[in-house]
């Protein structure tokens, strides 16, 4: 009897797990899924101040990498809101003397407490990268891939206004 319970239990439990697995599609261990948030760009940009966010998902950060120092118009620009599955991301960029002087996150992935922790950890690193690159070409912070991608896209949208 006991063995029947264990075998039946394992099979039934496994079946439930498989259904759960199917319900939440599993990302392969790569960054392919990261281009998906771009699809939401603009649609969610309620607070985006005039950002058009016309950039397609395929646009590479390298396109903007050429913008050297002094390439931007001075001012403060707010990027579009990028929605990710861990929450929305929106940044504001401040340009002075043609350079990116500061990137202020208005909102970072915050859907749960762990996401908040990750955002707090990633925000200074991402700003450092942006200041060093003087563009939106930031590398993803490990453990904060969704936040980094949202950050990159929102920053790009802001810089597009500054062109």
């Amino acid at each position: 009897m006991r063995r029947r319970v264990v075998i039946g239990g394992i099979l039934a439990g496994a079946a439930v797990i498989v259904v759960g697995w199917e319900a939440g599609e599993v990302t392969p261990p790569s960054h392919q899924a990261l281009s998906s948030p771009a699809g939401h760009t603009g649609a969610d940009g309620s607070s985006a101040t005039g950002s058009s966010a016309t950039r397609s998902a395929g646009s590479s950060p390298a396109d903007t990498a050429q913008s050297a120092s002094g390439a931007y118009r001075d001012g403060t620009y707010t990027g579009s809101t990028i929605s990710t599955r861990f929450g929305n991301v929106q940044v504001r960029v401040q340009v002075s003397g043609g350079d990116i002087a500061a990137v202020t996150p208005l909102r970072l992935t915050d859907r749960d407490r762990r996401s908040v922790m990750i955002s707090q950890h990633a925000a200074p690193l991402l700003q450092q990268e942006a200041l060093a690159a003087q563009s939106a070409s930031v590398d993803a912070i490990s453990g904060a891939t969704y936040t980094s991608e949202g950050y990159r896209q929102s920053l790009q949208a802001a810089l597009d206004q500054a062109q």
Binding site: M1, A23, P29, R85, R114, H121, A144
Partner: protein, 470 residues
């Protein structure tokens, strides 16, 4: 006194057939299997919740460790909830696997659950630290600054305290009351772990079916505890108004308590079952006594027989007439409800005779189908034997006795002299392979009976044991 005579059952009907007994038995075992499978499925569900909520990232070692940590936490918490359900004395569980088996499973899940939850905490610190590129210490501190995580950590310490105090060696050092209070604390521990489950990961996000399911588990488990362990006993105690009617000395250190109440038949207690009694006198009210009925209950009366084993049970001898009694029960499947065969073998030792005495009284068996063995270390321990011998005489059951120091061989559960004569389970119960065996007595002795009976061809399903090491 009139109330001390119990009505002897008149075997008016034909004894229940072997076929019906076997069908009933199979149904019960199938129900038990279903409950077991349900427990496994609940663990599967815990994992499925998490898998369904988010694509699991396994891109780096940190991700893998984090995923393992989340899985450990989900299964560990699910096991805790299963333990709560097992301890809730839910009637269907009590009737299907019995109180003792439910509590045995409950106890056996404690350590695995604790290890999983400790692993959950450890793995997440390591996993998060790996992805954040910070040290374990820094990660621990940053996690503990989240108030929900701090609460959950306190809950984990509480669970650890419960498990440690329940380890046999430690529990022996603690008074029952201390152990019980720490155990009550585990309810708090499980609740304060809930906020971090809802807020930390996104898997139990507001409005998700996962959150509804998980909260339903919590509410269901704790609701069952409140309802079946507290509300139902309270209502029954008030409704049936049980009081002590008489305290009767049976032997030195052994007393029978005659209890009077109203409509006790509504409780549908069977001989062999037990209640947890609380006697509301100044020195006894704070202690619940799990005591078997020592006679089949009538609508107005019940009897329990108790040997002074601890301080609490010693005080029961001095209870006054009219003392109010509250109770929880009936519990246990050491009754005719668990039968699988028409033939019955019975072994009772010492004070373990009490549930046997009540069980026999409710038994619906053909003359000659019951064979009883009564065991005592000395003539002074032959409690209630006169009643059992009278019952055997009236119903045509065979009843053997074995008195004296126990032997040392394979039938060491008998007296040395009987064992030397070659008596064993196989000679006392020649039809053991086709019988149910009901055993009640000290644990070590009962183990001996069980081993001897297994050698004589008894299938484990046909064995019915009542724990008596309270």
């Amino acid at each position: 006194m009139e109330t001390s005579t119990l009505q002897r059952p008149v075997p008016a009907r034909r004894p229940v057939s072997e076929w019906r007994l076997q069908i009933g038995h199979r149904r019960r075992l199938a129900r038990a299997d279903l409950l077991g499978v349900a427990a496994w499925v609940s663990a599967g569900m815990a994992i499925a919740l998490w898998l369904a909520a988010a694509p699991v990232r396994l891109a780096s070692p940190g991700d893998v460790i984090t995923a393992a940590g989340i899985a450990a936490g989900m299964i560990g918490t699910d096991l805790i909830l299963v333990m709560i359900v097992l301890a809730a004395r839910i009637p269907v569980i009590e009737r299907t696997i019995g109180h003792d088996a439910a509590m045995t499973v409950h106890g056996s899940l404690g350590k695995p659950a604790l290890y999983l939850l400790l692993a959950h905490a450890g793995l997440l610190v390591v996993g998060y630290a790996a992805t954040d590129g910070s040290s374990w210490l820094a990660e621990t501190i940053s996690l503990l600054t989240v108030s929900d995580v701090l609460l959950a950590t306190l809950g984990l310490l509480g669970i650890a305290a419960v498990v440690i105090t329940s380890i046999v060696a430690v529990r022996a050092l603690l008074p029952y009351e201390a152990w019980y209070l720490i155990h009550l604390g585990s309810y708090v521990a499980v609740w304060i772990a809930l906020p971090h489950q809802l807020s930390m990961g996104g898997m139990l996000a507001q409005g998700s079916w996962q959150r509804v399911y998980w909260l339903a588990l919590y509410v269901g488990g704790f609701g069952a505890i409140v309802w079946f362990r507290f509300a139902v006993p309270l209502v029954r105690s008030i409704r049936h108004r049980v009081v002590v009617e008489r305290v009767q000395q049976v032997a030195p250190g052994v007393v029978s308590l005659w209890l009077r109440g109203r409509n006790l038949n509504e409780l549908q207690a069977r001989g062999g079952q037990f209640f947890i009694w609380r006697f509301w006198s100044g020195s006894t009210w704070w202690h619940g006594h799990p005591l078997s009925l020592s006679a089949a209950p009538t609508p107005t009366h019940a009897r329990v027989t108790v040997r002074a084993l601890g301080h609490g049970s010693r005080r029961l001898a001095s209870l006054r007439r009219g003392t109010r009694v509250s109770f929880a029960g009936p519990y246990g499947i050491f009754s005719d409800q668990a039968r699988s065969r028409s033939r019955i073998a019975v072994a009772a030792s010492g004070i373990g005779v009490t549930p046997i005495r009540a069980f026999l009284e409710n038994l619906d068996a053909a003359p000659g189908a019951v064979t009883i063995l009564l065991r005592a270390r000395s003539e002074r321990e032959t409690y209630l034997w006169d009643e059992i011998l009278a019952w055997a005489r009236d119903t045509g059951a065979a009843c053997y006795t074995s008195v004296g120091r126990r032997g040392a061989g394979s039938a060491a559960w008998l007296s040395a002299t009987d064992e030397a004569r070659g008596v064993s389970a196989a000679t006392i119960w020649p039809d053991l392979a086709a019988s149910d065996l009901y055993v009640c007595g000290p644990a070590g002795w009962a183990d001996c009976v069980e081993a001897d009976a297994r050698r004589a061809g008894l299938h484990p399903e046909q064995l019915h044991r009542e724990r008596f090491d309270w």
